[in-house]
Symmetry: C2
Subunit: 383 residues, 2 copies
């Protein structure tokens, strides 16, 4: 990192400081000039706490979880599209066809398939290397395919601030303003605002998911935000950190990227991919670079949800006249002394009697009955 970062296109910082002007250019159907920003969407993870709605062959990001008419990955790409000329998806081979079918506007060359899952660092680093190989250095942003952000405009404003901060050479993360002392997320501890990147703050440290008491203390202390796993960084900065911290990973993705658009892709993948270190970007880059002072955080005050389980999914939706929240379901239901019922899927009539906060999930493959309060434990189901 260093000199190269100052090469980032000036229109990035311009957009950041003039959001009203920029919004005019946000029509995704309008012609867009090369923005120099390249959104990347790693699309992995089944969402095992949303079983049986999600399954290994039907992961969460491929589902219209909110009944909005768009799947989570479609929403994610639509939210990102105004920020860059192109979007790149990194997904598993088994889901590549479904991803391509759901995203007809994403060129096939930008749907990058992994032969096997090797955790987030390999996926994001491969995207970085491929973007840089094709286009030269770009500021990239990595955003999960299966999160929910209702206010796309507010999200994009935050990302633009992050892009400006990334242009100063930082690894930039977006910190979600906590609304409760959740122990379901890691936290980002931040410090002073950056002199050369207004709206971005030094990151002191990343912390693992805390217990509820620690989370409450962190909220009381202030200066902590949720780690939503969003990273905005120059491809060159990212790969330079990787070259220092995990050199074989860096050289490996560069080798694969160089072969990707030619006849040697399959060979390079077969030879190199299985050797890449399995590690999350948080551990590989975010934590050690934060300790060196190289990470910045831009606060995101928009509503964000990783929709990790049926409880958080239900919290995003409004109940019907009978008090039940419905997801992907319009068959009849009868509730008797059953406040807080959540009905998911299914075509058969359903009755719930004498249970509060019950979630009933009916798919072709299986039936799940759970308490909203035990939503995290769905991952322990063994069927």
């Amino acid at each position: 990192m260093g000199a190269g970062d100052t090469d980032s296109p000036s229109n990035v910082t311009h957009e950041c400081h003039h959001p009203n002007v920029v919004s005019v250019t946000e029509n995704p159907t309008a012609p867009r000039k090369n923005s120099g920003f390249f959104p990347v969407v790693p699309a992995g993870g089944v969402g095992s706490r949303l079983w049986p709605l999600s399954r290994p062959d039907r992961p969460k990001f491929l589902i219209d979880l909110l009944g909005s008419g768009a799947t989570l990955i479609q929403d994610t790409v639509a939210r990102l599209a105004p920020l860059g000329d192109e979007v790149m998806i990194v997904t598993g081979e088994r889901h590549a066809d479904a991803v391509a079918a759901q995203l007809p506007d994403v060129p096939a060359a930008n749907i990058v398939t992994e032969p096997s899952p090797r955790d987030s660092m390999a996926a994001i680093a491969l995207a970085a290397a491929l973007i840089e190989h094709r286009h030269g250095e770009q500021i990239m942003g990595s955003f999960a395919a299966d999160h929910v952000i209702p206010d796309a405009a507010a999200f994009r404003d935050t990302v633009r601030t992050a892009i400006a901060a990334a242009a100063t050479g930082k690894v930039v993360t977006i910190g979600i303003e906590p609304t409760e002392p959740s122990s379901a997320f890691g936290y980002i501890e931040s410090g002073a605002e950056l002199t050369h990147a207004p709206g971005a703050f030094e990151v002191e440290a990343f912390t693992e998911k805390p217990d509820p008491e620690t989370a409450a203390q962190m909220l009381a202390d202030g200066g902590y935000s949720w780690n939503a796993g969003m990273f905005v960084v120059s491809t060159s900065v990212l790969l330079a950190h990787l070259a220092r911290l995990h050199p074989t990973l860096e050289s490996g993705v560069r080798e694969i990227a160089a072969a990707w658009d030619g006849p040697g892709r399959a060979d390079a993948l077969a030879r190199v991919w299985p050797t890449l270190t399995k590690i999350a970007i948080d551990h590989a880059i975010a934590e050690p670079v934060a300790a060196e002072g190289g990470v910045a955080m831009v606060p995101g005050s928009f509503v964000w949800d990783d929709v990790g389980d049926f409880d958080s999914l239900a919290a995003l939706l409004a109940p019907g006249a009978d008090g039940a929240i419905r997801i992907g379901r319009d068959a009849p239901a009868s509730l008797v002394d059953a406040p807080g019922t959540v009905l998911v899927g299914g075509t058969k009539p359903v009755a719930v009697v004498g249970i509060a906060d019950a979630v009933v999930v009916d798919t072709d493959e299986a039936l799940l009955v759970l308490s909203r309060h035990a939503a995290q434990r769905v991952k322990d189901v063994d069927l």
Copy 2:
């Protein structure tokens, strides 16, 4: 009542007093002499608290509720068959074919179909009149088609005692020894043992279903038993009481019975049946005759259950290795923090997470999720 009752066959009282001798003749496949006892099984009632397992077109008595390989009406008839040469079923027209199919050993003439439900007094009185018209006076017994009595031999011993008491001219009921202060049943208050019918006791009164406090007091006081709706009585005694208390009902069923086995049945039914008073035998006969001193009670110490709801159904069954009670189900299940789960029907895998004492009923028509503690409220489901 009076002289006629002493005509009852001596083998009835013989059997009652020598159960060991009688048990030799209980093989239902052995030839049986005319016992003079005629069991009647009113088969009505949907069992609405067992929805969706039971439904108007698939009432409880037609279901193999315990997974024993026999439906409740098959069990009931098998339990009664050794007591009489014939069994008579009284059921609704819509269920007559299913009843006949389930009971191939019951002659068609003994499957008596009601054109419309007119409560238990009309059904039982019609059976009494028909039996008496065909065979002369008999001691009859009326037993619901959908109750569970695991110990058939103990049940028959009790019925034999009741038959002997009925031979003295009494209306005899079987009082179930209470195992808990249930408020789900009416109670029978009994007094002194009858001089001429050992093992039978004077009935002081029938009481409606009490509140739990009253039920607990009754159990503490002693002398109360559950009213299981079982009546053993001479056809002549029953019809004589009816002639006094509800004369048009008595003359009506006698008129229908006289026409039953000839060409006039349909005409008699069409003309008379709709005019019959809709009343339960408890109110029509048991309560007023008890007030006159004409009812006796024989205590039944066998296990009896009317399987009124999923809670009482589950109580009859043992859980499997995973702690779940299964009824009509062998598809896979996974329980996570779900003690006391009851799984009924269904072919799809089911998971229950974080709910105690949940009952999950999966039929082709509907899905029911309830707490065992709210089992009575299934009747309030509106689908």
